[in-house]
Structure formats: structure tokens, C-alpha cells
Symmetry: C2
Subunit: 351 residues, 2 copies
């Protein structure tokens, strides 16, 4: 299998090489060969080519079996008036690959309950997955613009959805729910937004095809509250791009650290983009202390969803669980293991 | 002073009459006369007049010294395809009064720490205020629409800000910070949204006028996380309308119940709109068990910001603190006091 690596910026290269070591160990143990090719994206791509998403990168990702990405961005490229920004590379890639469904599972590991700011009883049985729409909504819509009106600038962003865009993501959420606890929470702001009202109508329509699944509509403000006050009440959460961005970072609190959470972005056809949900963490970049687990678990999702290697995916997930259970911790979790030591701990437990 | 009451729907009438009793007690003790006039808004206004914001309501609110609102909405009016909705009444009122600044203070009462899902040590010293922009952003912008394109509907919402709109809300946040811990956290999504980039530029410009205030820019996803993982790190938070909606409901988790939190909406000139941040809670409406504290504390803000009665405002806030300290609790806080009994408890402690 052909895997494109996009290390990107900040801690991106450190966590991606950790995940590659795990994939290589899996390859050895299970007799697979993975071919890795590295490409530029984000800030480092701007520095080297002037373009946050060079043609060669997009082309390589399009033909790959899967793409594993670290993170993009950093203070170096943070001038709000800059005409090119690292994040454009990531957004362009998501759009270019058509990966409209971003899956972000949030499972609280029992051994990490003490690392969370929440009281232990609130975390019992938390096992949810956010299905974030990834190629539409407030992130895309009509071209963003700034207009000069009556002597001052006006800036405009657009949140736009078609019925087809809503239908395909909601349907995917329902299909996931069939294999889980059979509940879908659709999050919107239908009391204010027209796009949310269309979202709700289409969702109700899709729900008719899944009589066994319980559907609830939750307003985004209520969802932000319930995610902390009653996180076990969620199974599959499906929502708009920006809402999903906010809610998944919030949900990261439940598991004790952003560094733990993986994601998969799928287009329902071929390939797939895998990345941890954390950012480039410029404050700790280059120190070898980043938590590699989010990226390692993203690699497990890659094996599952893009390569159909379920057993291999499980082997990684079990190894991570065991390492955590046995007390292995990077700094973000209150431990002192380096990125490399944490990765070694996972590899040793691959079984 | 002339105060317009808008009880609205669900538990709205119950909590508003509780707050009116507290205001009347304050009037007696301090020798003020408040003239209350009641008007329709929301679902009950639709039922009686067909209009969620009848002319007479808006007119009365425009000339009043202040407006005290309960809540609007409920399942009865929840059909996504309905052409009038209760929330339009509230949005129209905010816009009609030009109350662009929604102040939502979040202070964790020591006696309520045990009611929060967070571990006690995370709640030490939490005392923040969210300044939510209230008459622009994703809630308003260009007229919301649904378009028929290539055989299907597209729904469009617009997030729009002018420099003037950003400047006035950010300036208000900086002025508030001067009287507090001298820190402003401006929350945006500048790595994706054009409106956020303009927001950031204008904010940096305003900051130059306040050399004593520490300004930080926080991405909305990070803010959603930090609000739970490190809530004490915030003092004044200023943000877009929708972001503010989400973050303040999330922040309600910190204080143990949505029912505790008040808000003030100001236009920098005259009048002001005061409402608890909770909704109409149709599930408990009419049972006399709603927590009235959010509305009572909103009445205190009304005395402070619209009537200049600081001492009287403090008297209410102290009475609420004492009642909580001495164990008075409605059901949402794990107690059994009715709305009336909780209100009595506050009135008895007005000092
Ligand atoms: C880097 C940024 C553009 C990105 C997003 O907002 O989608 C990130 O926050 C994420 O959640 O993957
Ligand atoms: C009722 C609704 C329109 C309102 C809002 O979204 O502003 C409410 O959630 C609030 O926060 O005051």
C-alpha cells in the first residue's frame, strides 16, 4: 500500500515519524509492506515553494491509498494580513480529496480518568464519535471576501449547504450508529440559522431509512454544555464543519489531553486523510516531548478504513490501551516519557 | 423607573415574577418606585397576535429605562418549516434596541463547587465575563435564504462584520478589563474566517489604546477546550455572536447549572435588555421548580447598568451569595426548594 506522509509544521514531523515506526512494526509482524512517500504542506511548503499545497502534494495524495498528516501552522506564518497561510494547505487538501466526513472518536481510557478535569463519575462509559462535515459549511461557502463600504471594511464569510451535502454526511452518521449504540445526535442551531433548518429537514428524512436508530436534534449551545455535563449521553454526533471543530476540541478535555485523539477523513470512495486532532504546538516543537498517541491511533484508523486491515488496527489500539494502563505517560498527561519512549512502549506491546 | 417585563414562554413567566418580587423588595428597602409594564414576546405573542415581536412590545421597550426578559420558544412552535418562530421575537428585539454587547459574567460560587462536573481544584478562582457581540455576526448578516439550484435546495447564512461593529464591542471589553484583572481574550477563528481576520486586526488596533491591558488571541476551538481545562486563565472574553452563544452555555457547566447565570445586553446609550442565559425549559414549565437566580441576578445587573443603582445591585448579589452559602438549592442544584421558596430565601437576606 501506498501511503503519503505530510509531516507539516511544529510537532507534525515528530508525531508522524512516531506513527510510521508503529506502522513499520505492524508491517513486519503481519507481513505487509507499506510504501511511504513524504510531501510538503503548510508553513514549510510556503517557505520552500511559496504554496501551502504544492501541486505535487495534492497529486500524490490523490493517487495514494491513504494520507497521514501531522499538523500545519505556527506563529511564523500568523500575520492576519498574509496572503498565503499554512491552513489553506490543509483546507485545500481536504477539499481537493473530497473528504467530507471527518470521524473523531472520543473514548475515555479508564486509566486516564484521573488526568481529566472532570469528576471521575462523569466519565464512566464515555464512548462517542463526532462526525464532522469537513468540506462545506462556514469553512467554505462562497469565496470569502472583504469589501470597502462607506469608508470601512466589511468582512463576509458564508455558511452554505446543499441537500446532497447534508444527506451524505448524515447518512454516514446513521450507518456508523448501526454498528454502535444506535443513537444519533444531530447538532445544529435551527432556531437561528437557515442552513440548520435545512440540515434538520434532511436529517429527519434520512432517519426514516433507519427505523432502529434513535435520532435527537440538539442545539449547538446545549450540545456544548451536555458534552461536559452528560458526555455519556452521546453516541454518534453529526454536525456542521465549524460546530464540529469547536465541539471536538471541547471533547478532548474528556480524555485528559488533546494529544490522545485521532481522526479519519473519508470521501466514501478511495483514499482517506488521517491526522491527530491536535495542532502544531509550536511551544513544544523540536523538543521530542509531544504525545504521539493521536497520530498513532490515526494510523490505526488508516489501516481500518483505507486498507481494510481491521486486525492490524486493533493490534495498535490494544497496544496503546496497554501502554496507558501500564502507566506510560508523556508530559501532557503528567508523565515524563519522550515521544520516542512512548512510541517504543506502544511497539513493545504490539503483541 | 420604567421597566418593561417580557415573561415570554415556558418557565419565563415564573422566573420573571420571582425577579419582580426581589426588585419590589429592593424598592421598599431603598425607597425606589419601579413601574412595571408587561408585554408579549415569542411563542405566546405568536399565539395571540401572529407576530413574535408585536409593534407595541418593541415600542414599549424602546422608551423604557430597562427591559427584563424571561425566555422564548418551545416545542409547540418548533416546526422547522414554520414561517414565524419565537426566536425571531428575541432576535428582532435585540436588533431593534441595538443592544450589541451581551455581558455574561461567570463566577463560581465556592458553595456550588460540588455541584459542578469539574474537579474542585479546577474551579478555584474562576471569575470571568464573556462579552458576546449580539446584533451582528452569523445571526444576522445578509438576509438568510434558501435557493433552488440544480434540482435541490441550498441554504445560506452569512457571517458579516464591519470595522465599526467590531471596534465598539472590543472597546467595551477593554473598558471592562480595566476594572477587572486587566486581561482580554479575544476569541476568533482567524486561521479560517475572513471576518475573524478583520476582527483580529481591529482588536489589535483597539488594544493600542489600552497599554495596561494584556491581550491574547485565542482560536475558538482552543477556547472551548481551555474554558474547561483552565477556566481561571480567562478574565474578559470577547467574541462573535455565535461563538459567544456556544461558549457561554459551555461556561454554565462551571457554575453547576445554567439556571444560575444572568446577562445584560447594552447599546452604550439608553435602556438595556436583561435576561437569564437559560432557555424556556418546556420540560419543567408550570411546575414552580425553575431556578430563579439567573433572572434575579439579571435584575441586579439591570439596577447596576441601566439605573445606576450599584448599592442595590450589590445587595441582591450578596443576598444570593448568602442564600447559596446557607444551602438553599433548587432542583437543578440538587436541592428541593421551589421557585418561590428560593426567591423568599433571597428576599429574606436582602439585609
Ligand atoms: C488548522 C485548522 C484549519 C483545523 C480546522 O479548523 O479544521 C484544525 O483546527 C482542525 O480541527 O483540524
Ligand atoms: C433563543 C436563542 C435565539 C438565543 C441565542 O441563540 O442567542 C439563546 O440561545 C441565548 O443564548 O440567548
Amino acid at each position: 500500500a501506498n501511503i503519503v506522509l505530510l509531516p507539516g509544521d511544529g510537532i507534525g514531523p515528530e508525531v508522524v515519524s512516531a506513527a510510521v515506526r508503529v506502522l513499520e512494526a505492524i508491517g513486519q509482524r503481519f507481513g505487509h509492506t507499506f510504501k511511504f512517500t513524504e510531501h510538503l504542506i503548510g508553513g514549510c511548503a510556503i517557505d520552500q515553494t511559496g504554496n501551502p499545497l504544492p501541486e505535487a502534494t495534492l497529486e500524490a495524495c490523490r493517487t495514494a491509498d491513504a494520507v497521514l498528516l501531522g499538523a500545519v501552522g505556527g506563529p511564523k506564518w500568523d500575520d492576519p494580513r498574509a496572503s498565503v497561510r499554512p491552513e489553506q494547505g490543509l483546507l485545500g487538501l481536504r477539499r481537493g480529496l473530497g473528504v467530507f466526513a471527518n470521524l473523531r472518536p472520543v473514548r475515555v481510557h479508564p486509566a486516564l480518568i484521573e488526568a481529566s478535569p472532570l469528576k471521575p463519575d462523569r466519565l464512566q462509559g464515555v464512548d462517542l464519535i463526532v462526525v464532522r462535515e469537513l468540506t462545506g459549511g462556514l469553512y467554505f461557502g462562497q469565496p470569502k471576501k472583504r469589501e470597502w463600504v462607506n469608508g470601512q471594511y466589511h468582512a463576509v464569510d458564508t455558511l452554505e449547504y446543499s441537500e446532497t451535502e447534508i444527506e451524505r454526511i448524515v447518512d454516514l452518521a446513521f450507518r456508523l450508529a448501526c454498528q454502535r449504540r444506535k443513537k444519533v445526535s444531530s447538532v445544529d442551531k435551527a432556531n437561528v440559522l437557515e442552513s440548520s433548518r435545512l440540515w434538520r429537514e434532511v436529517t429527519n428524512r434520512v432517519a426514516q431509512r433507519y427505523p432502529d436508530i434513535l435520532l435527537e436534534h440538539v442545539l449547538v449551545d446545549t450540545a456544548a454544555m451536555r458534552l461536559i455535563s452528560a458526555p455519556h449521553s452521546f453516541d454518534v454526533v453529526v454536525t456542521e464543519n465549524m460546530f464540529g471543530d469547536i465541539l471536538t476540541d471541547e471533547a478532548a478535555v474528556l480524555v485528559g489531553s488533546m494529544g490522545m485523539l485521532p481522526s479519519a477523513s473519508l470521501n466514501g470512495k478511495h483514499g482517506g486523510l488521517y491526522e491527530p486532532i491536535h495542532g502544531s504546538a509550536p511551544d513544544i516543537a523540536g523538543q521530542g516531548i509531544a504525545n504521539p498517541i493521536g497520530t498513532i491511533l490515526s494510523a490505526a484508523m488508516l489501516l481500518r478504513y483505507s486498507l481494510g486491515l481491521e486486525q492490524e488496527a486493533r493490534a495498535i489500539e490494544r497496544a496503546v490501551d496497554r501502554a496507558i494502563e501500564e502507566g506510560c505517560r508523556t508530559r501532557d498527561l503528567g508523565g515524563s516519557l519522550s515521544t520516542t519512549a512512548m512510541t517504543d512502549a506502544v511497539i513493545e506491546r504490539l503483541g
